[in-house]
Symmetry: C2
Subunit: 742 residues, 2 copies
């Protein structure tokens, strides 16, 4: 391996001699092609118009480079952030339009930065594990350099040799050194922060033709002297056990699972993928010998495809872990991903349909290629499908499953902890339909860039509620969060994939186990998605077993989205005062609104949301507590949404099996005021057999059909034969599960 590094280094050295400009994310040849077809490719012309408008307005304002002072959301932060976006666009505009005003604006701005930079101390906020100079954290400084290196590349030949020498000496080289050898904890880590750092240093290295910077960026610093116990602001470990490498290629090796899953989840992958892609563009154009887009079996392409598969029907990412809701495939990072992958990796016509939804392209040759292909009608429909992702470098540390049927998407999360942004939500699920969330994952307690809410940072309730187990749709044992809420413990374990079947169109399943998250309790959840003419939409069947030698309390929350319409058991609602549901681990944030018990062995709750009727039908024991609660207690600054939750509690049990059926059965239109199928189609759910080895559930529909669903809980071999003797019949099957319809 060492040998290869040296060889590559030599190549770099050679390649740099012949370097022309631009060559980073624009190339001379690309620019020629764009110029020759200007005015004929609508989506690209639109990008050009928009960039012109935006940059022209800034040129009118003049160069503004204030002394850094504010946190995210504050003025100097926003101004410098805007500057780097504008500079990158101005550079491209100069290349494409050849209008000098753009080059001039870039030069003046760079000069202003070069004047200020040598005078800057660390950013005065001093709130980050890696405080920046322009911004409160190095991460944003790296963002700046990724964008501005592109601007520099575009005006490189416009500047005089003296100007370049000045900029490189006073601004770019010190900037790059600050982000690398100046902040090894930030630079030399397997983490998205470091990817930005690597990309920033590498990109300016490519433009400056600086082999040292390029080497650091690709292979990391050889000796960083970081302590193994240091943590970042999000509580994540700087050093990951067993990982001794750093730099961009190591990020590619260790950041993604083999099928492209990113352990922090899609919201962060969307963010993290960007520096990968933008540096990959630069490497593709400058270091073809690296063949970066086929590195590790085309891992970047897999990551992009994985990202596109982790979206609901509206293109919004499933809000796993510390995710903000509403982030979607229309994000600028995904525009970049689609443009780059389409152009440099196979021209997949399905990507064009994503680009069409985005209705925006980059102002560079990849954006041009996409816009041109769309104009030529080359796109193909991008159909969402079920998918299983393994987590961890080898894909063996649990994972995430997305089961889809018609417009229903069921997401089960049995992935590893996900580092500092992970939630304590082992074996949780969330559910989506054509409109949006049916059973939600809360996401993170944060209002990104909104100054009024803690400067846009993670709010205290993210830790006290957002990450806690009760905030997710999974079992909480004795009101304790998984791994006692410790990231350190969480990172040592992960759930285990047990079985899956996503090939069957009428029934799909995913099953996983966890033996470590709740000490002394073994969790096993199997989720099925059944499509049958008895039901207007695919239904979810959830069989969730917990086994313990101790007597425990088991809570299974359902974060249903909408307004409760009815429950078929008696409950008492607190009418005169509300108390919290508990004291800690997220329970302190819940107001207990109502509690009841079912006299039957099955209960149903129906809610309405998104103009639809939904029902959960569940097996219940007469001793179980059935509770409704609402978020918002112990939230002094109104940081939490006021969302409802239903909690099924088994107070004293060693083992328990929860069985829930969730249906989307009807619709309600506020204009016609006509409810269509407002009632559940389920007549009966029953547990016919249940022990540690087997579970057999019977479901009867109101139309008179019935199903038996058998699952082997211990033996997950596909060829094993199983047999259960019931009172009147024998049930036998082969493999992990079998659905019998009568």
């Amino acid at each position: 391996m060492k040998k290869i590094q040296i060889i590559l280094f030599l190549f770099i050295g050679v390649a740099c001699i012949a370097q022309e400009h631009p060559s980073l994310t624009l190339t001379s040849a690309g620019v020629e092609l764009i110029r020759s077809e200007l005015g004929t490719i609508p989506l690209f012309d639109q990008a050009l118009d928009e960039a012109r408008k935006e940059v022209d307005a800034e040129i009118d304002l003049g160069v503004i480079v204030p002394i850094p002072k504010d946190m995210a959301g504050g003025y100097t932060h926003q101004r410098h952030k805007r500057n780097f976006f504008i500079l990158q666009k101005a550079g491209n505009l100069y290349q494409i339009t050849q209008e000098e005003k753009y080059a001039k604006y870039v030069r003046e701005s760079l000069m202003a930065y070069a004047k200020m930079y040598p005078t800057l101390p660390l950013h005065p906020t001093n709130k980050s594990y890696a405080t920046g100079k322009i911004f409160w954290q190095c991460l944003n400084d790296a963002n700046w350099l990724v964008y501005v290196s592109q601007a520099y590349d575009c005006v490189y030949n416009y500047l005089s040799e003296e100007e370049r020498a000045h900029l490189e000496k006073d601004l770019f080289r010190p900037f790059a050194e600050f982000l690398s050898i100046g902040n090894p904890k930030f630079f030399n880590r397997i983490h998205n922060h470091s990817t930005w750092a690597n990309a920033a240093v590498g990109m300016i290295g490519l433009v400056m033709d600086d082999p040292e910077l390029i080497e650091w960026s690709l292979y990391g610093l050889t000796d960083d002297g970081i302590d193994a116990n240091e943590i970042d602001n999000d509580g994540g470990y700087i050093k990951v056990k067993g990982i001794r490498k750093a730099g961009f290629l190591a990020q590619l090796d260790y950041s993604f699972a083999p099928e492209g899953y990113f352990t922090e989840g899609p919201y962060y992958l969307r963010y993290a993928i960007f520096p990968f892609l933008v540096f990959a563009k630069g490497l593709h154009n400058n270091k073809p010998e690296l063949d970066i887009l086929n590195y590790r079996d085309g891992i970047l392409s897999k990551a992009v495809n994985g990202l596109l598969l982790q979206t609901d029907n509206q293109g919004r990412f499933f809000p796993l872990n510390d995710a903000l809701k509403g982030m979607s495939i229309e994000a600028r990072e995904i525009i970049t991903a689609v443009n780059v992958m389409y152009t440099y990796k196979g021209e997949d016509p399905k990507l064009l349909s994503v680009a069409k939804t985005q209705n925006k392209v980059l102002l560079d040759e990849t954006g041009f290629a996409v816009a041109k292909a769309i104009k030529e009608g080359k796109e193909e429909k991008c159909v969402q499908r079920s998918v299983l992702f393994g987590d961890g470098k080898d894909g063996t540390e649990g994972g995430v499953a997305v089961l889809r049927a018609d417009e229903t998407s069921l997401v089960m999360k049995y992935s590893a902890q996900g580092m500092g942004h992970g939630h304590f939500d082992k074996l949780s699920f969330s559910l989506y339909d054509d409109v949006g969330e049916v059973v939600q994952d809360y996401g993170s307690v944060r209002w990104v860039n909104v100054d009024q809410k803690g400067g846009g940072r993670y709010l205290p309730e993210n830790k006290t509620f957002g990450k806690q187990t009760i905030g997710h749709n999974t079992i909480v044992v004795n009101e304790q969060s998984h791994y006692g809420g410790s990231v350190k413990r969480g990172e040592k374990h992960h759930p285990e994939f047990y079985a899956a079947d996503i090939s069957n169109k009428s029934i799909q399943m995913i099953s996983a186990k966890d033996n470590n998250a709740s000490p002394g309790a073994k969790l096993h959840r199997s989720l099925f998605l059944l499509k049958d003419p008895n039901f207007n939409n695919p239904i979810v069947i959830d069989i969730y077993k917990v086994i313990s030698d101790n007597v425990n309390q088991y809570d299974l929350p359902l974060w249903f989205m909408g307004h409760l319409l009815s429950a078929d058991f008696e409950y008492d609602r607190s009418t005169e005062s509300l108390q919290t549901l508990g004291k800690e681990n997220g329970y302190q944030h819940l107001w207990k609104e109502a509690e009841g018990q079912s006299k039957k062995d099955q209960f149903q709750i129906t809610w309405i949301g998104n103009g639809k009727f939904y029902t959960m039908s569940s097996i219940v024991d007469p001793n179980d507590q059935l509770m409704f609660a609402r978020l918002g207690a112990n939230d002094p600054n109104f940081n939490l949404r006021s969302d409802p939750v239903f909690i099924h509690r088994k107070k004293e049990a060693k083992t328990a099996t929860f069985v829930n059926i969730i249906e989307s059965h009807g619709t309600y239109n506020r204009v016609s005021e006509r409810p269509i199928d407002p009632f559940s189609s389920i007549d009966k759910v029953e547990l016919l057999y249940d022990d540690h080895a087997y579970t057999l559930v019977e479901i009867k529909s109101k139309k008179g059909d019935s199903w038996k669903l058998a699952i082997a809980n211990v033996d997950n071999r596909l060829n094993s034969k199983h047999e259960l003797q019931l009172d009147n019949e024998k049930v036998s099957w082969k493999g992990v599960y079998k659905m019998f319809k009568n």
Copy 2:
């Protein structure tokens, strides 16, 4: 007047002799025209296709006429409701397509009803002041007859004379008698229920050529023997003092204010207008001598235009009084209104743009005319404008104002009680932007047709919260609702219009007073909508004065829509338990979440909703209590939404002046995560002068501009001259108000 009635009656007698079929809502000539252009008018062809599909499916199912049994939402209710819709369509399909299967289906259905009807007792539910036979209330029976009379008209000539005689003897005549002389309380009243009754009886009378039914329908029953104190299920009085007339023409005389406002508000007008329109079609076609569409200066046309003006930017009706949210111009009643008015009253091309939004037309000659005009590109854009509506027969009983600027709509309600569906919300307001509600009117506590929620009827919380004053954006004195929550008292009074100016593009205003709603307290509210380059959107200025000889508590709620982002005063949020805000008059439904006080003489609260930032800036006294509360207490069945409210309380005061500025200043996009203008543009609001005669408010923007807003509180003459001597300057103006910009 008596003479005219007799003459009209003679005309009717004459006209009926020559009657042909169809002639009610379809005419022979119209059908000829439609047939000749079938397949060439897209929107009409679409209506035909949809009707075919729907009716063909029902024909396949066969005729289903169950014995009536269920409440609204239940099976027999829904089935009979579906039957009358389908029958009307089947009749039209028979006329348009000439396919016998449709006529046959209508005949079989009518025969089934004719067989059952004579055997029916009153509907077994017995829950209405006027219990029906097919449905739980006569109102639905009248709906049935309005639709089915059209079906009968369409198959009239297809049926044999014997069949007709049988249907008229066993079904239609007894049905019409039951709705009229059989239920005078239902039939002989000025109320939308009676309009349906009048229309039903009149329409079947027209088809049957039955002068007695037609006379009853137009002029009411001469002696109904109804007690003056009887009330209906909604608490409204059957007899209205001073009104001695009944029948359809009296409905037209007394139901609408001269400019078309309907005292129950737009949600009910949308509902109420339908029988007016459908019967008007029949009268237009059969009794041209009545000139029904020009009756009372074209009151129906004014009502339709008024309805279209009482909508937000998405075409949804302002949810005044007992309104369900989301009801919009796409409702079938508005499709009818637009089709009829366009065709029979002036072919206003602006109505075509509404029809285009509806994207649906009626399957009759009015729908055909609209569809054809749209095909021919005749539509003109329908631009919303500010408007003042007077309430009451003469338009003098208060009213409703809609101020609009750009995409902002400010609605002030100073109308009369609005009968049984009115709310105790004198001088309240609500605010809308391009997306939806900014400051909401809760509407009614009801889930129409949703069986799980009380069979779809008004829920108990509609009375205990929905109608109560604290549920609205207006002052509550001593925690008592207006008129002590008594409809009877409410109907005796109404607020008084004070002043308005909707002609000025930069500032509009509406001002009204109320001296009766809260005993001993005189309320005076003036709302302004200011458009100025200092602000991204028009801002609301609210000056709300209350004067009393007694020491009172004044609460001013703000039902803001969204999530609280920040408040610039210190408040304590209840973190461990919640209590109700009060014991009665709606306060028992509010959880008190937080309370604070301002140390300054001004406070601001900022919230986020609809992807926008909003701020209210208010003048405050250090003793004022500033509270946040949330709906949901004392709501045992989860009937209420969990909405937030802010309450500004002055605990012990004789007089008080609330001054609030509401801005929509910025936006937030979840994909770009970029807040634009997240902070208020208001620097300072100050009360420079305030006594019973004058109020002078100063507003300063952060950009450094300032405004003085002067208002005369007693003298509303437009020519009066006013002068105020301040410390350093004299302020003088002419008329009710003046805005000075510095």
